[in-house]
Every structure is written in structure tokens, then in C-alpha cells.
Symmetry: C2
Subunit: 327 residues, 2 copies
């Protein structure tokens, strides 16, 4: 009976095979299949569909040029591969745009972790003057009203529900579907496939030298704040003003990291080799040799999952008249 249950769980991808599990360093495992959502924002198909429209909606930017997808491009693993993203009037942001993929699993959003939920995060960029640069929440709402979103919100959230909170809720619901399962590592962890020998060496190395005390568990992040004393960005201190938060950032996940160059909060590492070497040196006081770096990179490359299939939405537009973009 027990083995039947185990076999059933294995077939559902919910357990590692004993063989693979035996080879995995402590805590590692396949990407969770259950995605958390707050009680007041269930991931319903209706919210997801509306959120997808909003995610691709350039009317949420002052100029009518930028959508969420401009910087968190779902054709390129939820990032724009820029060091700092291009924003309103060609301004550059001050931090590298992190991927939106699997962000549903993080308990801290933004590099400084200042927002706990996707619902909070989604409210930021439209109003950020160097990003989408909308003048106010009211302006965002009025844009969407003009574009023709009122009936869509009414249907999903009830009458008179087109407001900034619900815009963020719908976007967050969509983002909770942006999960990338079945990375080579996940298949290996479930005993369904193998990974290269170099990747296996790298997997052991990251556990041995201590990378995985922060990049922990199946998500390869502890979801915690850690000091990374590197560069001029003060991190969490910019939010709290507290000295002990200086250069403190949330731990980034390694999921899909091979596809999201450049690296770090300031995008200063152009290659994964460089990022691995710098992290080992600054965080662990270890100077890694080329072979170890290559092995670790080979392991990180096994963490690239499968992109969800995304059908481009068709956005509502007012029949026969232009929307009032601003310079």
C-alpha cells in the first residue's frame, strides 16, 4: 500500500525517487507544484485573463509605450536582459529588473524586499517616474476606463471595481501562473532524467561551500534578507533608514538564472561565471577555481524550466479614437 502511494506521488511528480533523493544535497528538490495565493485574491481563470491583459497594457504608462512586459518580457524569461531597464523618456532605473517567473513563490518582492506580495509589487512600476511614470493611481484608473476596461473589471470583481487595488490584484493573479516547472534538475530530482556530470559536481560544490545556506531549498532562495556588501546601492537601508540594513538585499532565486543575464541588483556581472566567482568571494570568502566555477554554472544551467505557454491577449481599445498619451 505504501509503495502504491509512493508510486502515485512519484507519477504526480510530488516526490523525489529514493535514488535521486539520495544524491541530492539536503533541502534541494523539484519546484513546488502548488502556488500560494492570498485569501483575498484567488487565482481564478477570470482574474488571470484580466491580469494578462493588464500585464501587456501600455496604457498603464504615461507615454503609452511601456507595459509590465516591456521590462519583464515573457518572451525572454521575464527579464529584458538590460543592466538597467529603459523607462519613461529613456531614463534608466537604478536596479536590474528581476524576472517575474516564479515570483509567486517569493515572500519578498523587489531587490530590497520592500513588498511582501505580488499585489504590492505590481503597484510600483506604473507610478515610478523613471519607469512607467503615471502621475497617480487615479490617472491609471482613468486610462483604463478610457481604454474600455470597465465592463471587464465589473465582470471579474463586481460593479464599480475598476480601481488601483484591483488592477494590482489581477496582475498578481496572472503572475501566479508564470511558473516554470520541469527543469532538467527537477526531472533529475524526481528520478525521471539525468543531468551532466559537471552539473552534479556543481550541485555538490554549492552545498559544500555554503551557497545553499542562502540559496536554499527547492526554490534556491531562503526568501530572507542578507547583506551583500558590493557596489554603492544601500539596499534595504534606503527603505528603513536603519544602519543594520545597509547593503541588505533579499536572496535571489537561482531558478532560470542562466537565462536572465546580466546579474546582481546592479546588473554589473555580465556572465554567470563572473556572478558565481564574485558571490563566492564576497559572501563566502572563497576564491573558486575555473573548474569549480564551470561546474557550478553547469548546475545552474539545469535550473532552466519550461516557460508557460502564453497566448498574447487582445487589449480593449475605444472604437475609433486615440487614447490621450502624454509626452
Amino acid at each position: 500500500m505504501k509503495s502504491t502511494i509512493t508510486a502515485a506521488l512519484l507519477s504526480l511528480g510530488m516526490l523525489a525517487t529514493p535514488a535521486a533523493a539520495g544524491n541530492l544535497p539536503e533541502g534541494m528538490g523539484p519546484l513546488p507544484t502548488s502556488v500560494p495565493a492570498p485569501a483575498d485574491n484567488p487565482t481564478t481563470p477570470e482574474r488571470v485573463e484580466l491580469g494578462k491583459k493588464l500585464y501587456f497594457e501600455p496604457a498603464l504608462s504615461k507615454s503609452g509605450h511601456f507595459s509590465c512586459n516591456s521590462c519583464h518580457n515573457l518572451a525572454t524569461w521575464g527579464v529584458d536582459n538590460q543592466r538597467f531597464s529603459i523607462g519613461h523618456k529613456w531614463q534608466r532605473g537604478g536596479r536590474n529588473a528581476p524576472t517575474v517567473l516564479n515570483a509567486a513563490f517569493w515572500s519578498k518582492q523587489f531587490w530590497d524586499g520592500r513588498a511582501p506580495l505580488l499585489e504590492d509589487q505590481a503597484k510600483g512600476p506604473p507610478l515610478n517616474p523613471v519607469e512607467m511614470a503615471m502621475d497617480s493611481e487615479a490617472d491609471a484608473v482613468s486610462r483604463l476606463t478610457e481604454a474600455g476596461y470597465t465592463p471587464l473589471f465589473d465582470k471579474v470583481f463586481g460593479k464599480n471595481s475598476l480601481n488601483y487595488d484591483n488592477i494590482a490584484k489581477a496582475i498578481a493573479a496572472f503572475e501566479r501562473t508564470l511558473i516554470t516547472p520541469n527543469a532538467p534538475f527537477d526531472r533529475f530530482a524526481r528520478g525521471e532524467g539525468d543531468i551532466p556530470a559537471a552539473a552534479k559536481r556543481g550541485m555538490k560544490k554549492v552545498a559544500e561551500i555554503g551557497c545553499t545556506s542562502c540559496h536554499a531549498g527547492p526554490l534556491f532562495t531562503s526568501n530572507e534578507f542578507v547583506r551583500f556588501d558590493y557596489g554603492s546601492d544601500h539596499g534595504l537601508k534606503s527603505v528603513t533608514g536603519r544602519k543594520e540594513d545597509d547593503h541588505v538585499f533579499r536572496v535571489q532565486s537561482w531558478r532560470n538564472v542562466a537565462m536572465t543575464a546580466p546579474y546582481f541588483h546592479d546588473g554589473s556581472a555580465a556572465t554567470l561565471q563572473e556572478a558565481v566567482a564574485t558571490m563566492a568571494r564576497v559572501q563566502l570568502g572563497i576564491r573558486l577555481g575555473k573548474r569549480d566555477i564551470d561546474d557550478i554554472v553547469a548546475f545552474l544551467e539545469t535550473l532552466t524550466g519550461e516557460m508557460p505557454g502564453i497566448t498574447l491577449p487582445v487589449l480593449p481599445r475605444p472604437s475609433g479614437h486615440a487614447l490621450p498619451w502624454k509626452e
Copy 2:
């Protein structure tokens, strides 16, 4: 026998019902179902799939920010709803971005018709200094090489085939799938549905006053050059230098026109009402009353078709290193 064939053709949507056909002004009819392609660029699924990647590929712009889809956004009917699109370093182009939808049917591309084929058109924007601003064809090829496109081109076009001509061919093949059938007018023309009374009045009016001598046939364009002496843009003369080409533009199609505001080569008409009134006045010497304008707009609104379902591509990216964008 004859009626059996007619019934069969009707069921295939290839003939207007006698009833509907009797109500249609001369020349009007449903959108063609057969899409032309040049002999050397057949619309194969492989070319289309590669072309879709390239269409969404920001690596074809100097900054890494713009793709074809930035200005010809397939979430918003193949346009960006801007008067003049935002390009490299926030420069503005000098002409309104026309929709890519159904462009496969036009025998002239660009507002001045300077390119006959989509293959020619696709070569323009990546190298236009106010648009995607790549320095040269070679730079575009080298970008795609670094991004990892070589094997994809090899598979579709044969060995050593990643070159600028084939980039344009693949994009054009994808664009030939961007067809919007089954507009309310098409269903009406096939006897499968009705359109509002105002739209029927508008349909008769555009034929009666002569709009359809240029906006002719099922495509609602003659695909010809016509003088539109309006604004400061010299149109075809800028290409040929010939005095007789001054202010000459290709005739735009009315297909999906309600969704592609603002209007004209200079995007100066913010509403379809204004565009209709101006066209009638400048081209036909007619001052239309409000009721006629509203009827014509009601008719134009029946020309909004069905968007093709587009699954967002996943673009190739080099594992673990950044692409070299330029400012």
C-alpha cells in the same frame, strides 16, 4: 446540381448569399481567404515560427529595447496607437505606424509605398536611426548570432543562412499569418449575419459619394497611389523626387480601422469621425453632415475582424551571459 455547388461554396464561406450580395455595393466582399506569398518565400510553418521569434526579438534594435512588436503591437491590432512611434533614445518617427494586420494583401508597403513586399518592408525599421537604430545589416546578423539563432536559421533555410535577407523573409512569412477574417461585415457579406441599420446606410453612402473608388474591393483599398494634399509630408516625392508624386500616398485599407487610431500618415486625426470628415472634404470636396459621418463610422466599425491567436514565442538567449546592447 448548380444549387448544390452554390450551397457547398456558401457553406465554405466562399460566396456571398444572393441576398447579401444583392445588398452590397459593387466590388465589396468578404476578406480573401487566400494570402499571396512570393515564390521564393512560401509561408511554411517553420518560416512562420522563426519569423514570429524575430518579430518579438528586441535584439534587432541597437538598445535591445525595441522589437517589431513595439510599434506594431499584436496585442493592440498591430499598431501602438501613438501619433508617431517612440524609437531609439526616445526619438519620434515622422509617420504613423500602420498596422501589420492583413499587410500581406497590400502590394505597396510603407505610407509612401516604397516597398512592394513585406520582405522589403521588414528590412527597414531595424536600420532606421529613429526606430531600432542598428548600425548595419551585419550588426543585426551578429546580434542574432550571439543570441543563438544560427541553428534555427540552419534548420529553416539551410546551412550558413543567417543573413539579413533571410531575417526579412522569416518575418514576412510570419506577417502573412496576421490575417483578421470574420469581421461583422464579412459575415454579413456571406449572408451569415447582419450589421446595424446605420452601418448599412454608411455602406451605401461610401459607395455613393465615391470613397470606394480608392478604398475599393474586399480589402477596401485599391492598393494604388493617390494624392492626399494634406499636411507637410511630401509622401512619394520624398522617394522619387518627382513633382507629380508630391503628397502622394498609397491608399490605406479600412480593415480594422476602428481599432487603429490615430489616423492618417501623420496621425493627426484623433478620431475616426474626424478622419472621415477630412477625407470627404479633401479628397471628394464633400462636407458631410454628422448623421452621414456617424453612419460611415458605424460601417467602418463592422470591418473589425478576428485577431489570430498568437502564442508568445520563447526567444533564444545565450546561456549565462548578457547580450551587448548599445546606448
